[in-house]
Every structure is written in structure tokens, then in C-alpha cells.
Symmetry: C2
Subunit: 307 residues, 2 copies
DNA sequence: CAACGATGCCAAGTTCTGCTTATGACCTGT
DNA sequence: ACAGGTCATAAGCAGAACTTGGCATCGTTG
């Protein structure tokens, strides 16, 4: 770090621009001796006379004019910095790197983006489909600003730690049966009644939820197929591949007519929410995206948790 | 003036470069809370969160990284400024605008310039022939850094005021007679003996000196010709145009064989010296030129006045 | 799993920077 | 000669800012 106080450099600049110490002091809102002392200190710091004093004011020496030029450049840089920061805080600029899990990408994201185009037109939102575990990693490494993730009650509280979790809405898990299933329309159907079925499991974490739910219902599911694609899962069910548990948003995003969707007692919901590094909510651009998401999620479920 | 303390900006920069507040503090030679407080103040000043804190250190927000970039630019500018100043004080750079009166330009200047080429090869000396009165004006206006001027004892102390005078050497005034002058070789010749002669006067100030000297010798000279060119004056004397008073340096610079040069009692000397704005001696480049001139002038006369 | 080491923040105390007021010197112009 | 401009210096005081000490949190390690 150079041994020159940059504040004094700026003071020096205003003095040079004004042609006299007193005038510079007035512009700074200070008294003349204050500025005079600063200039003396600056000259001591740089070890050279910068100004020739006379009763008519001051004129810079050669070293003084060169230094004043540098000071001008620094002042301009400061000006630019404050302006850029103002733009960032006023959302006239800013980028948010946003990651969401696939099914939310289909359902929630488009309206949110269009909402943002209105409220913060100059905000750049770069968006990425990403599974929750990877999202957590990327958030930690600072490669992502905000992530829309889901979590099942059974899942450990994750390694939150430095991350911040804001629940958005509850995504009910539904049972999906083939149309010709004998109890497809049975109003008294429970999860335990499906103990002997073969199952189509979803992604790894959805499968964990299936197993957890089944355990509390008293059985261990026989998993025949595994896919994290909602359509594939439903088609498998449709064609007799088994039964499945799928979240409501997935079923809403990619409805398949030829299957029966049932809400069963004892099925958990998964929570959909936002994840970000602790403190990132303070970043205006991030907050803007969060607000848009909250506004979009609110009407979707009465049990939505506001933040 | 932007409302952001540039020192804090530099502190912020070192913290970002180090990845943690503590490490930044160590580099600055401070304690961690000191830096922490500065960062908090900076964030308050700009109204935005700049760093995301974690137990692993800090990572800049978007605003933080942009600001850090500006801070880098400012630091570089400061670095460049200190370097340039160091060059100026070390005489690795620098320009001196130097003015001298004509006859000195011929005699003193060439050796001085060659001397400077050795001691300060990267020093720019721009040189200008200028009469003392004009030199004073240009010094006042800051268009000249240093001037070599002469002054006669009779001349008022000039309007020194804000200017600084350093005597260099004494320039004796000599009488110039035609070779066929009846008393050309008379060892007892005095100025009073030339009362009835007609005179060739020099420049305005030299003429003033002639009149002043003549008055103390008891007569008023009859001036027939006037010229500020030393050669012309001597030629006029040679061809019977009259007698003249000319400074030694002029006679030395432009010797004319066919005249007789006499040192007479009661003739004043003119002082040759340096003039500069008060305080300009502190400028290294100016001091270098002055030193070279002093070194050059010293052997020329035993009565040289050192500074 | 507990302890350690790293990170950060906060509160309180003390040092010292830095601003003000007051004064004096100097040059300029009337 | 004096009034009005410039700047420097000295003394005093307030607030900034650095330090010390204590604590919370997180990640790692034995």
C-alpha cells in the first residue's frame, strides 16, 4: 500500500482546481488551516514541495501538477464506483445466478421471470437447472446466488450451516395409480394398502421419501423402476410398471391423462423453498428475485409460508 | 467529492485480495476488529452489503467485486503517482524552464548544460533568452522556473517580493576606448577623465548604470549612440563613435581586438544571479540547475558569492 | 463426538488524528 | 500607510479509530 493518504490527494486536487487553499477549504466545507495542515502532511508524505505559496494563492510545482493529474484520475474512478454501486442498489443493474430444480423450472420460473421483467427490467437473471444437492455445493462455492430447492421431512436438515433457508410453499406428494388399478377410486385407500405393489421410484431423494413413508406405513416398497422424469414415471405406471409417489408440482407441470392421481393420508409433503448464502438476502438483486418468487408462490397454496 | 472514504476502499481491496478480514488486517499491520469496523463503515457509506461473511472468510457480493475492481484501479493509480513523484525527486525526470539574459547565454550556458547532461541526464532544461525585466514577469506568472539575471547597484531592488534572489558572481564593468585614444594606456586614467568624451550606451539598464557612475564621478555623459549589442558597441568605439562601459562577460564573450579595455576605479560591478519564485529552490530539478550554475560560476571570479 | 482453530462480531477503553479558533506574517493594491 | 487578500503556526478539544478482551459460529480433527 503506497504511503500516501488518498484523502489528502483528493484534498490536494480540490485545492489545485480552486487555485487557493482557502477556496479549496470552502469547497470542502472546512476551514483554511485544516486544509493547510493536510497539504503540509501530504508534502511530508511524498517528500516534495507540491505547491508554491504566494499571497495570490497557490500554483502547483511540476510534481504538483503531475500528482494533481493522478488525483483527477482517482477522483473520476471514485465517481464511477459510486455511480455503479448506486445502479446496483437501485436495481438498474445487477445479475443473479439462479438455480432451480427441474420441475420448478417448468412451473414457477416462467411467470417469475416475466414478473421480474416488469419490476426490475435491467436485472440479469441467469438461470440454471440443478438438483438440490448440487445447488448446495454451488452456493457454498459462490457460483450460485440463489437456489430453489425442495426437501423432504425425512431428509436430514442437510448441511445448512452457512446457508439460509426460506420456505416458499408446500408441495404435496400424491400417489399415482394406473387407471385399471382395482382400488384406483377407493376413497378409503391408504398407503399401507399399496404394500404389495411394485413401485416406480423417482430421483434418489424422492425414493428416500418413498421408503421413509412406507416404513411408517409398515412396509418396505419393492422398487422395480427408477426415473427422475415425471412423464416417464407416469407412463410406466400407466402401462402397469407399478405405482408411484410424485409431487403435485410435477404432476401439474406434466399431466398424463391416463393415470389416476390420489391424495393419500400419511403421505408427507415436500417443502419448496429458497436457499442462499447467509446474508445474501441483503443483496438487492437477490432480494428482488426472492420477492418475485414469493409473490408468485403465495397464491399457489394456502399453506405457503411467507418470509 | 464522492461520499466514500478512499482509504476504506483500499482497506476493502486488501481484504478482498486476502480472502478474509483477519488476513487483510495482518497485511495492514492492524488488528482484525479495526478492519472489521472499517468495512462496516464502508458498507454503511455505500448503503450495500459488500462482503458475505462466513467462518471460512469473506467473499464479495456482486457490488463488492465491482467495487474491488475500482479499488484496484485506484491503487494502481496511487502506485503510479508515487513512482512518478519518486522519479521527479530523484531527477530521473523533470523539466526546468530556464531564462537567461543574452550575454550569459553565450558564456555560462553551454558549459552548464553539458554539466547537467552528466549529473542529471534525464532532466529537461528548456532554455530561453530573455531580458531581466521580462524574466521577472514570466517568473511571476509561472511561465519560467528559473532565470539568470543581472542587476546594477544603482537599480532599485526591483519588485522582488515573491521572488527569490541568489547572487552568483560579480561582473566588473570595464571602460572601452579606441586604440588611438590619447590616454588609452595612461595608468592613472579615471572615469572623471572621460567626462568630455561622447558615449556609446548599452541597453536601458546599462545606460542607467553609466549615468549613475558618471554622476558620482562628477559629470553627465553625452550619449551619442545606443545599442545593446556588445560587438556593435565595440565597433562604434573602434571607429571613433565614442567610449563605452561594458561588462566583463560581454567583452569576454565577444572580444574585439582593435579596442582597449581598461578597468577604472569607481566603476561599479553588476551582480549576476539567479531569480526564482519563492520556494522553487525546493524543487529538485530547479536545484539541480542552480547547483550546476554555481559550480560553473565559482571558478570564474574570486568574489563569487556562494549560496 | 468433543475439542480445537479458524472465522467473524460486539463492547469498552485509550490513543491520536484532525478539525477549529486565534493569531501573526507576508504581499498587493488603493 | 492601511485594508484585504493570501498562507502558516499554535493550542485546544472532539470524535474517529485502533486495541484489548470476550464471545458466537462453523469446519476440521483427533
Amino acid at each position: 500500500m503506497p504511503g500516501m493518504d488518498p484523502r489528502r490527494l483528493l484534498i490536494f486536487r480540490t485545492v489545485v482546481r480552486n487555485g487557493s487553499i482557502g477556496a479549496g477549504a470552502r469547497e470542502l466545507g472546512w476551514t483554511q488551516p485544516a486544509v493547510s495542515q493536510h497539504l503540509a502532511a501530504l508534502e511530508k508524505e511524498v517528500g516534495t514541495t507540491l505547491l508554491l505559496r504566494s499571497s495570490a494563492g497557490v500554483t502547483p510545482t511540476e510534481a504538483g501538477s503531475r500528482l494533481a493529474q493522478h488525483a483527477e484520475a482517482i477522483a473520476a474512478q471514485l465517481e464511477a464506483a459510486t455511480e455503479e454501486l448506486a445502479d446496483l442498489t437501485a436495481l438498474r443493474r445487477g445479475t443473479v445466478r439462479f438455480g432451480t430444480f427441474p420441475s420448478a423450472a417448468a412451473v414457477l420460473l416462467p411467470p417469475v421471470l416475466s414478473r421480474l421483467r416488469e419490476t426490475a427490467p435491467d436485472l440479469d437473471v441467469t438461470f440454471e437447472e440443478i438438483e438440490p444437492p448440487d445447488a448446495i455445493a454451488k452456493l457454498r462455492e459462490g457460483e450460485l446466488d440463489l437456489a430453489l430447492v425442495f426437501r423432504y421431512p425425512c431428509s436430514d436438515v442437510d448441511a445448512e450451516g452457512t446457508l439460509e433457508w426460506s420456505p416458499l410453499l408446500e408441495d404435496r406428494v400424491m400417489a399415482v395409480l394406473p387407471q385399471d388399478h382395482p382400488r384406483a377410486e377407493d376413497p378409503d385407500l391408504t398407503l399401507a394398502d399399496l404394500a404389495e405393489e411394485t413401485w416406480v421410484a423417482g430421483c434418489e431423494r424422492c425414493r428416500a421419501n418413498l421408503i421413509s413413508s412406507a416404513r411408517t406405513a409398515g412396509f418396505t416398497p419393492t422398487v422395480r423402476h427408477s426415473t427422475d422424469d415425471g412423464v416417464v414415471a407416469q407412463r410406466l405406471v400407466q402401462h402397469g410398471g407399478g405405482v408411484a409417489l410424485l409431487p403435485e408440482t410435477v404432476l401439474e407441470a406434466t399431466p398424463v391423462e391416463e393415470v389416476v392421481v390420489r391424495s393419500l393420508p400419511g403421505l408427507d409433503s415436500r417443502m419448496i423453498g429458497l436457499l442462499n448464502r447467509r446474508g445474501a438476502q441483503a443483496i438487492p438483486a437477490v432480494a428482488a428475485v426472492r420477492d418475485a418468487l414469493v409473490a408468485e408462490a403465495a397464491p399457489r397454496t394456502s399453506s405457503a409460508v411467507m418470509i
